[in-house]
Amino acid sequence: MATYSNTSPYFGTTQNNISLDLLQPRTITAENDDVSYTIDRIYAYRPDLLAYDLYGTPRLWWVFAQRNPNVIEDPIYDFSTGKTIQLPKLSNLRNDLGF
């Protein structure tokens, strides 16, 4: 049995003896004044780098796709130049994910 940290997208997903169960998406608070950001070439296909720069850890690479499901389906390959996404606040992530 693997143990997932509270910064993992699988933290709330249950496991059986051999595999993970169906993914239980983690909730991220969306606010109207979340910062809007158009992905430029520095962070293209690098959500881990953006997470590291914004939140101090690359383990939160998946939160951008979770916060912007209508823009990003594939968390890495849809993270391309020119797409405008909303960035969740670090304070909200701390409350929602508990890290």
Binding site: V35, I42, D53, S91
Partner: protein, 293 residues
């Protein structure tokens, strides 16, 4: 001494902030992306740079544009719309589209301009005289050079740079070839208007480009752009642009040098009035819209 001390401290503080940003890759990336750490909403008021007065009426940047009433406006900036409207079914050429709002090139940074006004006199060398007499010949404003740097920081800037390059290439050529009944055939290169620094320096000065240089340096990065990146499907759904084509590379920094020759038509010269000129009335705000220098 105190002033220099204060200035030195300010410069030192700004330099220290710059050093912190440049030495920290994370802050450098976030600063470049316009983000702050933690993605918290920035409640501070941001100062905005603008190139105009407070009422936004005037732009003082140096610009070289086609006159708004010129017949060539359609040729330069609306050819792609005509192509689409005519239903020719081929991709439109919108290479000059980034210049469409201004009608020409606006220098992003203040260029270097040295302008000369000369009055020519011919010396009449009288025999057995110590001082020659001078007979006035004529006055002129000889051609002058405009040298400006063009920084390119993103793909949109690169599109503008490519459009600038193509615009100045185009305005150094005459109307030659093409369709049989083209009414413009045989016309010389277009006359442009130079403006900048407000009403009394350059305001709608008619000029022609006699020389155009741009350096493509080997020691700078180049940014890829596409002049046909925008879809035209909103105008005509039958036209589909291949966005993988028309890739162009623009240098992140280049120096553009223009040699401009002020040029006035005979009709304009006939209407010149020395009194009006001295009183500052010939600054491009009359019905003709031509500024005299």
């Amino acid at each position: 001494m105190g002033l220099f001390d204060t200035a030195g401290k300010i410069i030192g503080t700004v330099g220290a902030v710059g050093n912190v940003i440049s030495s920290n890759p994370t802050l450098s990336r976030l600063f470049g992306a316009g983000l702050s750490k933690g993605a918290e909403a920035n409640d501070k008021l941001r100062a905005s740079a603008r190139f105009s007065t407070r009422n936004g009426q005037t732009d003082y940047r140096v610009r070289v544009v086609l006159p708004p009433k010129s017949d060539l406006w359609n040729v330069f900036f609306q050819v792609y719309k005509d192509t689409i409207d005519s239903g020719e079914g081929r991709a439109a050429n919108n290479i000059l589209e980034p210049l469409g709002n201004a009608g020409g090139v606006v220098f992003p940074l203040t260029p270097s301009i040295i302008i000369q006004h000369s009055a020519n006199y011919t010396p009449l060398n009288m025999p057995h005289s110590n001082y020659p007499h001078y007979a006035y010949g004529h006055s002129e404003v000889p051609s002058f050079t405009v040298t400006g740097e063009f920084p390119v920081q993103n793909q949109e800037d690169a599109r503008y740079w490519v459009a600038m390059l193509h615009f100045f290439r185009s305005v150094t050529k005459m109307f030659f070839g093409g369709e049989e009944n083209d009414p413009l055939k045989g016309n010389p290169p277009p006359i442009l208007h130079l403006s900048g620094y407000g009403d009394y320096v350059f305001n709608n000065i008619p000029v022609v480009v006699t020389n155009f240089n741009v350096d493509l340096r080997p020691d700078v990065d180049y940014i890829c752009t596409s002049q046909s990146s925008r879809s035209r499907s909103d105008i005509n759904p039958n036209i589909v642009l291949n966005t993988d084509q028309n890739k162009t590379w623009a240098p992140t920094l280049s120096t553009v040098t223009l040699q401009l020759q002020p040029i006035y038509s005979r009709d304009s010269v006939k209407k010149f009035s020395m009194k009006d000129f001295v009183n500052g009335r010939l600054i491009g705000k009359d019905e003709r819209g031509i500024g005299y220098i």
